[in-house]
């Protein structure tokens, strides 16, 4: 399986990417929403499949996570990609907003690797044959 990790912090991309690789994912990184959209556009143009999963930070320069999620939702060809916000934003209203914009899941920072594995298995996104 393939994941897109979108976060303006390189350290955070490392952490999230590392956990996902440990779960059997291949990982593509992007520093903000615009860069991630460019990846999706290029992939689609080349006839490739969009990633199975996008882990999306909320606060980023150029294009934030909420705008990214909204843009992806507007594009029927990208429907198959599951989007999980991974953010320090932790108010009830913000979780509601992200879900309404089209995010499927929401992970509040800080998190443990176990929490990632739990969320992905809920979403049915744990690669087969990988250690739990």
């Amino acid at each position: 399986m393939h994941a897109l990790v979108i976060d303006d912090s390189r350290a955070m991309r490392r952490i999230v990417g590392g956990i996902l690789k440990g779960l059997g994912y291949t990982v593509t990184e992007a520093g903000h929403g615009r860069e991630a959209l460019d990846v999706l556009v290029a992939t689609t143009a080349a006839g490739g499949a969009v990633p199975d999963l996008a882990c999306v930070d909320w606060n980023m320069p150029v294009m934030d996570g909420l705008e990214f999620v909204t843009a992806v939702r507007a594009q029927p060809a990208w429907r198959s990609m599951t989007m999980m916000m991974v953010t320090t934003e932790s108010e009830h209203a913000q979780v509601v907003r992200a879900l309404a914009a089209g995010a499927h899941e929401y992970m509040i920072k800080p998190f443990t690797p176990d929490a990632f594995a739990d969320k992905l298995s809920l979403l049915g996104l744990v690669p087969q044959g990988e250690p739990a």
């Binding site: 499927h104 509040i108 998190f111 176990d114 739990d118 809920l122």
Partner: protein, 284 residues
């Protein structure tokens, strides 16, 4: 974890004393070699009493045993690891298979009684509560969830229904988080309608079992693993006596009635399985 920082102060006889106490009070088996666990888990208690180390705590309790210290020692040695929707499948199975079958077998006036028999901090009973609330109109009035644990602290946590950010990250789908919990300071709290469905109380599975049955469904998950076979057998038989004859039992993924208590039939429930009594137990 704390092997380097916690030099063992516990003597072999001190360890045996704790093992025997914990086994007598809770049936939990502490295998030889678990000295480090006892040391790490009891250090905070020793410190809170101004005692030098765990050995000093053990000596104090050995020379003058008291109910409070005994309870706290047992509590410290329970493992309360849990999460929302733990293993997923048993909970989907409960809603998709068990619930329809119960509804077909009961009149609408009959309450549905569910027991979470080692509820830890409450994720299990509240997972059940939210699923039933969303699947069954009128669940708030009809479903009664008994939630119990040997640990007083865990029972209090269940009653409060408050969970940290870290805890809500563990397995609770975001749509259910926002539907059924509200922010409370830095934590999240289960909404009152779900809290009203759950009654939390202390119950030692090797002591007197609750009188809030008979139960339609029992969750006895990830607790039998701590006991020896005779204890497992006795608990399963006594739990069976508290169940409706057509009730359902869910065990943890690593647990089974097989070779322990043969009065159960294992039935597939969705992608998981449950156990149903094949003969009632009147002898409990």
């Amino acid at each position: 974890m704390s092997t380097a920082s916690t030099a063992s102060t516990l003597s072999p006889s001190g360890f045996d004393f704790v093992r025997a106490l914990v086994h007598r009070e809770s049936a939990i088996v502490l295998a030889p070699g678990k000295e480090y666990l006892v040391e790490a888990r009891l250090s905070p208690l020793a410190r809170s009493r101004g005692l030098r180390d765990v050995q000093a705590l053990v000596e104090a309790v050995r020379s003058s045993p008291d109910v409070e210290s005994t309870q706290l020692i047992v509590e410290a040695l329970t493992t309360n690891e849990t999460s929302w929707f733990r293993d997923g499948d048993p909970f989907t199975g409960m809603v998709q298979v068990v619930l329809p079958s119960l509804l077909a077998a009961r009149t609408p006036a009959e309450p549905l009684r569910i027991w979470s028999a080692a509820c830890s901090s409450g994720q299990e009973p509240y997972t059940i509560a939210m699923l039933l609330k969303d699947a069954l109109p009128g669940a708030g009035e009809r479903v009664r969830i008994s939630a119990s644990d040997i640990s007083r602290e865990m029972v209090e946590r269940t009653r409060g229904g408050r969970f940290s950010q870290m805890e809500v990250n563990r397995g609770l789908p975001a749509p259910l988080l926002v539907r059924h919990l509200t922010r409370a300071g830095n934590d999240w709290q289960v909404n009152p309608d779900l809290r009203r469905m759950v009654t939390a109380f202390e119950c030692n599975l090797v002591g007197t079992l609750p009188r809030t049955g008979p139960f339609d469904v029992v969750f006895l998950r990830n607790v039998l693993i701590y006991f020896d076979i005779p204890t497992k057998r006795s608990i399963l038989a006594r739990v069976r006596a508290l169940m409706r004859p057509d009730g359902w039992l869910f065990l943890g993924a690593a647990e089974s009635t097989l070779g322990v208590d043969d009065a159960w039939e294992r039935v597939p429930v969705g992608r998981s399985s449950a156990y149903r009594p094949t003969r009632p137990n009147r002898g409990a």
